[in-house]
């Protein structure tokens, strides 16, 4: 089931079942949201998704709208549509009736936070790797993406270069070119509303923010941790923005420990009404 129609789009999805024996039915499914433009679901596969599935949580990975092998419409790259895409997809996967744990990398982390704020009924917990939040991130991101868009426009990949060996570079280039020069992605990011401390304070699920020590996104992560009542931040020493690529070992252990804690909390939470019913 690699391709799943949801809403108006066909999404590329990979589901990794929880390893038999370790699976527990009341554990939230873990859904992964990747970063912008040159990213896709595969960057989670080895460092987190396989270990998460082997630790007993079902893992769901999908390529965001326009990314990887998901369809690439001309519009709809704002956070509101991204949340709608996620909700449609969970419904299409039969996961619409239970709360999921969202793991987001970079801009995928920002989208996961938007999802938890918009649909607290669907999100049991968050793990945010280097989410761009607050400050001037929108402006910086738009500058970076606009510069990339211009450079891609000047260097189209000639069709005759599309041999087996060059296909990899050509694919990446052409996806980035299409997203940046032929969709509303940059405009949608430019128009996005920066989340404020008042938004952070409304987040009521457990959230772990993970930042690289040298990343410029640390202040935004700290601000979220300060204002969201159940959020904590972990700073990984010696690393920059790409914690997913640079630190599979420490990152993996940190994320698995967080999932265990939140899954245990969710189970305890679920038992309270049952005990209450028995007492009554």
């Amino acid at each position: 089931m690699a391709f799943v129609p949801a809403g108006s789009l066909r999404f590329h999805v990979q589901r990794l079942p929880a390893t038999a024996g370790a699976a527990a039915p009341d554990r939230p499914v873990v859904v992964f949201l990747h970063g912008l433009v040159v990213d896709n679901l595969s960057s989670f596969y080895c460092p987190l998704a396989v270990p998460v599935a082997r630790a007993g949580h079902e893992a769901v990975l999908y390529d965001l709208r326009g990314h990887g092998r998901t369809e690439r419409p001309a519009t709809g790259y704002d956070s509101r549509t991204a949340v709608r895409d996620l909700v449609s997809l969970l419904g299409a996967l039969g996961l619409g009736h239970r709360r999921v744990h969202l793991v987001g990398n970079s801009y995928g982390g920002t989208l996961a936070l938007h999802a938890a704020l918009a649909r607290p009924d669907l999100v049991a917990g968050l793990t945010l790797l280097e989410p761009p939040l607050g400050g001037a991130w929108v402006e910086n991101m738009v500058d970076t993406l606009s510069a990339a868009a211009l450079s891609l426009e000047d260097s189209p990949v000639p069709a005759e270069l599309l041999t087996l060996r060059l296909r990899k570079a050509a694919n990446l280039t052409s996806i980035a070119d299409e997203l940046l020069n032929r969709t509303s992605l940059i405009d949608d990011i430019a128009a996005s509303r920066t989340l404020t401390p008042a938004d952070f304070a409304r987040l009521d699920c457990p959230a772990l923010i993970i930042c690289g020590e040298h990343s410029e996104l640390v202040p935004g992560g700290r601000e979220l941790a300060r204002h969201a009542p159940r959020a904590t931040i972990e700073i990984l020493p010696g690393l920059g923005h790409d914690v997913l690529k640079e630190s599979s070992g420490v990152l993996r252990e940190t994320v698995l420990a967080h999932l265990e804690t939140t899954a245990a909390g969710a189970t305890r939470g679920a038992r309270v009404p049952r005990t209450g019913a028995l007492v009554r």
């Binding site: 589901r15 679901l41 595969s42 080895c46 460092p47 990887g68």
Partner: protein, 122 residues
């Protein structure tokens, strides 16, 4: 060995399916073909291959266990033969565990292991 040949043929078919036959012909894939050096396989394409392998061989080959010890760079640095060897080995072991008295040919081993475990990857 028959199993190895069968598994190589199946993985080759999957690679052609993923990359498209305008880029890859089955004859180009051998045991020593490298995913990265020769095929320039993208990580998302390896994920697609893993899905097909899981559908074909089921959880019996413990592909997740095999991959858990590697990062994507290490996986893509492998040759097709290394993956074939893992799958051949595990399908044998899995048959040996489930029916110790059956004296099966390697081909039967592959088939039995594949049919014994239902595909679970979505």
């Amino acid at each position: 060995m028959a199993t190895t040949t069968d598994v190589l043929a199946e993985i080759t078919g999957m690679l052609v399916e993923i990359l498209g036959d305008e880029f890859l012909l089955a004859e180009e894939v051998t045991m020593s073909t490298s995913f990265n050096e020769d095929l320039a396989l993208e990580s998302i394409e390896f994920v697609a291959l893993a899905e097909l392998l899981h559908e074909r061989y089921g959880s019996g080959v413990d592909l997740m266990g095999f991959l858990a010890e590697k990062d994507m760079d290490a996986i893509l640095a492998m040759s097709v033969g290394e993956l074939v060897a893992h799958i051949s080995l595990i399908t044998h072991a899995s048959l040996a565990r489930t029916s110790p008295t059956t004296k099966a040919t390697p081909t039967a081993a592959t088939t039995a292991a594949a049919t014994a475990s239902a595909p679970t990857a979505g």
